[in-house]
C-alpha cells in the first residue's frame, strides 16, 4: 500500500517535473519582470538615488505627455499597416505559390521571401540604411528613377512609410509561409469536389481556400500585432525616432524614458501600458475570432 501511494504521488508530481523548465522560464522572464514593472511604475527612481513611492502619479503623467501620445499614434499606424500588408500580401503570395507552378520556382519564391526573416533587425536596418543613403544608396537611386520619393528616412512624411515597407520586406516571409502551410493543409478532395461541381477559381478561393486557412490568417494577424506593436530596432538604428518624432515608437519612447532620461518609474508605466494594450487587443482578436475563424 505505501508503495502504491508513493507511486501515485510520483505520478502526480511527474507532469510538473516536465513542465518545470517552461514554468521556470516563464517566471524568470515574464511573470517576475511583469510584477517588477508594476512595482517600478509606482516609484520615481533614477538608478542611483533612493527610489520614492509616488503611487499612481506616473500614470497620470502618461496621459498628459504629448510625445507619448505621438509615439502611440505612430505605433498604431505602424501596427495596423503591418497587419494589413502581412496578411494581404502573405495570402496573395501563398495562393499564388500553391497553384500549380513548377516546384523549383515555388522553392525559390519561398526561400527568397523567407530569407530576410532570418536576418536580425540590426543587420536589416544597417543594410537598408546603406541602400537608402540619399547620395550613394542603390535603392534610393532607383526609387527616384521610377518616381518614388527619395531621401525618405529624413523626411517626416515618408520615414514611417519607409519603415513599414522595410518591416514588410523583413517579415512578410513568415506570414507567407504560415498561410501557405495553412492552405496546403486543406484536404485536396474538398477542392477537387468543388471543381467537379463547377466552382470557378475565385469561388474556390472564397468558399474553400480562404475559410479553411483562416486559422493560419488569425495566427499571422495575432503575431503581427504583437510583434509590430513592440517594434523598436529599425526606429532606433535608422531614424532615432526622428525626424521630429515621426517614427518614434512607444517601445523606443519607453527606452528613452527609462535609459536616457533615467526615469525608471515612467518607463515602467509605459511598459505596463504596452502590456495592457497588447493584452486587450489580443483578447479582442480571440473573441472576434469565433465569428470568422473556421474551426476544423
Amino acid at each position: 500500500m505505501p508503495l502504491r501511494k508513493a507511486k501515485q504521488k510520483q505520478e502526480r508530481f511527474t507532469p510538473f517535473l516536465f513542465l518545470s523548465p517552461a514554468i521556470l522560464f516563464f517566471c524568470c522572464f515574464i511573470l517576475f519582470p511583469l510584477i517588477g514593472a508594476f512595482g517600478y511604475s509606482l516609484i520615481t527612481w533614477d538608478f542611483f538615488t533612493q527610489p520614492k513611492f509616488v503611487g499612481l502619479d506616473n500614470y497620470g503623467k502618461l496621459f498628459k505627455d504629448p510625445i507619448a501620445l505621438e509615439a502611440v499614434k505612430n505605433t498604431f499606424i505602424f501596427t495596423i499597416a503591418s497587419i494589413v500588408t502581412h496578411v494581404g500580401l502573405g495570402l496573395i503570395l501563398a495562393v499564388a505559390v500553391n497553384r500549380r507552378i513548377p516546384k523549383f520556382f515555388a522553392y525559390i519564391i519561398r526561400t527568397v521571401f523567407f530569407f530576410p526573416f532570418l536576418l536580425s533587425w540590426s543587420a536589416t536596418s544597417i543594410i537598408w540604411s546603406f541602400g537608402l543613403d540619399p547620395t550613394f544608396g542603390v535603392i534610393d537611386f532607383y526609387a527616384g528613377k521610377v518616381g518614388f520619393p527619395q531621401a525618405t528616412l529624413i523626411s517626416s512624411t515618408w520615414a514611417l512609410p519607409t519603415l513599414i515597407m522595410i518591416d514588410l520586406w523583413k517579415t512578410l516571409g513568415f506570414a507567407f509561409i504560415v498561410i501557405l502551410a495553412g492552405i496546403q493543409a486543406i484536404p485536396s478532395e474538398i477542392s477537387e469536389a468543388a471543381r467537379v461541381d463547377g466552382a470557378s477559381g475565385l469561388r474556390l478561393f472564397w468558399n474553400i481556400t480562404f475559410p479553411l486557412c483562416t486559422p493560419a490568417i488569425f495566427f499571422v494577424s495575432v503575431t503581427a500585432f504583437i510583434g509590430a506593436f513592440q517594434i523598436f530596432e529599425p526606429m532606433y538604428i535608422m531614424t532615432r525616432g526622428g525626424p521630429d518624432n515621426a517614427t518614434l515608437s512607444i517601445v523606443q519612447y519607453l527606452h528613452m524614458s527609462a535609459f536616457r532620461n533615467f526615469d525608471i518609474g515612467y518607463g515602467a508605466v509605459i511598459s505596463v501600458a504596452i502590456f495592457i494594450v497588447v493584452l486587450i487587443v489580443t483578447l479582442t482578436q480571440f473573441k472576434f475570432a469565433k465569428r470568422w475563424v473556421h474551426e476544423g
Binding site: 542611483f48 546603406f130 531621401a151 529624413i154 523626411s155 525616432g241 525626424p243 521630429d244 536616457r260
Partner: protein, 448 residues
Amino acid sequence: MTDKNVTETLPEKSVFSRRTVLKSAGIGAAGITTAAALAACSKKDDGPKDLDAATVSFVFNGSADQAKSWDALFAGFKEKYPQIDFTAQAIPSASWAEYADTVAVQLAGGAKYDVLNLATEGALLFADKGVVLALDDLIARDQEEMDIALADTHPRLVEFGKKYGPQDGKTYYIPSGGMNCMAAWVNKDVFAKAGLELPTDDWTWDDFLAAGRTIKKKTGAFMFPVTAEYFVGIMPWLTTNGASTMNEDWTVATCDTPQAIEAAEFARQLVVEKLSPAPGGTFDRFELGIKGDLAVFGGGRWPVLAVRAANAVDKYEIFDFPHKGANRGSPVGWAAFPIMKSSPNVDAAWEFVKYLSTSSGATVFATSGGTASPCLKSVAESQDYLADSPVGTEKLYKALDYATAIPSPTKGNLTQRTIEDVWGQIIAGNIKPDAGMKKMQEEVTKLL
C-alpha cells in the same frame, strides 16, 4: 557613421577645485618652458610604484578601429605596473552622450568598474548622481606630480574644468586626459585637381563656398559633409559665427540668435548646392575623402587613425575651420577619467588615472594616434604627437585658444538628441532654418 560619431566629441571635462586651480595658476605662470621641463621630469619619475597586487577595471568609449591605439596605452600601464591586473571594457557608441547612458545603465545593473572614461557629455550626469569619487585627497597626496601635469595643461581646459564641472568645490575630473577641437582636414590632391591653392587659416565661409563650387564643377567631388552630429556637424558652424546652442553657463538656450540661424542657413546652402552629400546618409567620410570624392572633412585628432591606415597622411593638411567674418571658432570636448566611489582599489585606480593624465600616458596615446589630442602642451608640441600626422596637426591644440566648450548640461543626452533632430530637419529641407532654430530653442529651453 560610427567612426565619426564615436570619436566625434571628445573626452570629457574635468573639474579642479578652486584651491587646486589657484595653486596651479601660480605654477602655470612659470611659463611653458618650465612646464615642459617639469613634464619631462615627471616622465623620469614615473617608475613602478610600491603598490600591492590589485585589479583595476576600466571602461571606455572605443571602437574596433581604435583598438590598437588603446591597447598601446594599456600596454604602457601594464608594463609600468605588472602587479596590477588590468582589464578594459570597450563600449563602442554612436556618441559620447549615448556612451554615458550605456555606462550608467550598466552601473545600475551591477557592473563594477574602477575607472571610467568620460567625455564632456556625461561628466555632469555622473557627478550629479554621486557615483564618482572626489579626487582631492589623492591629488593632495601626489600634489607635486599633479601640479606638474596641471601646469602643462592648457589654461583654458583648466578654466573649463572648473567652470563646467560640479560646483560643490570638489575635484572629480582631471582635465588632462585628452581633448578635441574641430578643424578642417583638407585633401590637397582634390584642391590641386580643381586648380585651387590650398586655403589659409583665415579662410571665410565665402572662401569655403567659392572653393566648393569650383571643386564640384571641376572634379565632381563634394566639398564637405554637412551632418546633424552635435560636435562634428553642428557646433563648428555655430561657433565659427560666434554662436552656440547655449549661453556660457549652459543655463539658457541660444539656438535662435541671428548668428545661429545664419549658420543653419549656410549649412543648408551647402546641401542645396550639392556641395555636401545629402544628409542622412551612411557614407564613411574618411573613405570618401581618401578616395578623393570629398575635399574637406571636419575632425579633431581622431581621423588620423583612418588616414594613417590608408597611408594618406601626406594627402591631408589641417586648417582652422572656415569662419564668418572674424569669428574663428571650434567646439572643444575633453576627457576625464573619474574613479568610481564604489571602487575597492582606489590606490591602483589612482595610479591608472595619473598614468592617463600625465605625460607618460599622454605620450603613448599621442604616439599611437589616439582618438584625442593631448591636453598637455609639452606632449602636443612633441614629435610623439606631430610625427606621422598631417601638416597643421598642431592647430588642433592651438584651437583651444578660441574654442567653445561643447554645451553639455546634466540632461545633455536629451538636449543633444533634440538639437541633432532639428538640425537634421533643417539641413534636409524639412523645415526652414529660422523656423527650425526657433523650434530648437523652444525644445532645448524645455530641457534646461
